[in-house]
Symmetry: C2
Subunit: 210 residues, 2 copies
């Protein structure tokens, strides 16, 4: 297809597509005639992923490039996960972390196979430290339950990934799951809080099932 | 204590504290002498909560006021949750949502007691719709597992809340948990993904327990 059709089918303005081409996010089309590049369904698919990274994930152009490179490469999926995690979440500097908070994280994730520099391990320590800094008591048991919920979600992620065939589809699932999984969890968490609160704290019957 | 000591003990600049007073976030001190207000430990505690809302939660002054009002009031805790949820998360306009995505949410949360306008229900539909819009296949089973993980976390939230005594402490737990819970979950989710990926995809033994 020509550029104009790529724009129509993707719903992305041609000027934006040209920007993605210049930035190296979208591979060049094939030139059968001078000044007349043609594009394929692969370009369309890639445009969808670029928008997901930039608009849903809020990634910078540079971070989006690293993620797309990880999808295109034949690096192991475990490494693709690492690239996605690092692009999406800011990794705290370990030297700025409270060692007591880090010790709690290591305790509630005991037995998990991960490198000490895992961005999640460091970010969890920062969240716990913030928790303490705003005057909350130690809530070790609460945190441990969150670790169980997180492991449950991670098992679901990898089940889903293994249901896909082909490295490209699997790598895309890794990226999309990392981008959208937390938003979905946070939303369902709000809904679940209303359910549990309603069951335990209210005696009226105004709450109803939807 | 005097304003200067309140600043010293809270670590918050006096100019900022005065701003919070003017905005009605911090209650006025008691005037024993003209122009000489005194503040209590309650003011110190409130300052910690104000910072959590503005800095950790990224709330606007207006949203922080609504949350503080919910803490101070004697509204039922279920309502306090609602105020916190609405202040923290943007609620999508239901008319902009894909009915098919909303149907999936209602299916995976079947039996949950919640109002149709629960912000989490609507935000989950938006996340699922975005998922589809970036070309992902239907992944009903994956979403259903996330609903289970979210319910697990919500049960932990309310267990923790019920372990606190006094309505103020409980209301604060509601707010802080809502502010920080998702950040903690997201971080632990990253860590758990490394663990599961490492177990299922790599055969080397370079990963080690921390």
């Amino acid at each position: 297809m020509k550029m104009a059709e790529l724009g129509r089918r993707s719903g992305i303005p041609v000027a934006t597509i040209k920007f993605y081409l210049r930035e190296g996010l979208l591979p060049a089309g094939e030139y059968r005639l001078p000044n007349q590049a043609t594009y394929t369904d692969e370009h369309l698919r890639r445009l969808t992923m670029i928008r997901a990274l930039l608009e849903v994930g809020g990634l910078s152009i540079a971070a989006a490039k690293r993620v797309l490179h990880a999808i295109d490469s034949d690096m192991p999926l475990a490494e693709t996960f690492e690239v996605a995690q690092q692009a999406i979440s800011e990794t705290p500097d370990p030297s700025t972390l409270n060692p007591a908070a880090l010790a709690i994280v290591d305790d509630i994730t005991r037995g998990w196979h991960m490198f000490p520099e895992n961005p999640g391990r460091l970010a969890a320590a920062r969240a716990i430290d913030t928790f303490w800094s705003i005057g909350q008591e130690d809530t070790h048991g609460w945190f441990a339950q969150y670790a169980k919920a997180a492991m449950f979600a991670a098992e679901a992620d990898i089940d889903e990934l293994q249901a896909r065939t082909g490295r490209d589809a699997q790598a895309e699932t890794v990226i999309v799951g990392t981008l959208l999984g937390d938003a979905l969890f946070a939303a369902l968490h709000r809904a679940a809080q209303e359910h549990v609160t309603s069951l335990r704290f209210t005696t009226d019957h105004n709450h109803h099932e939807v």
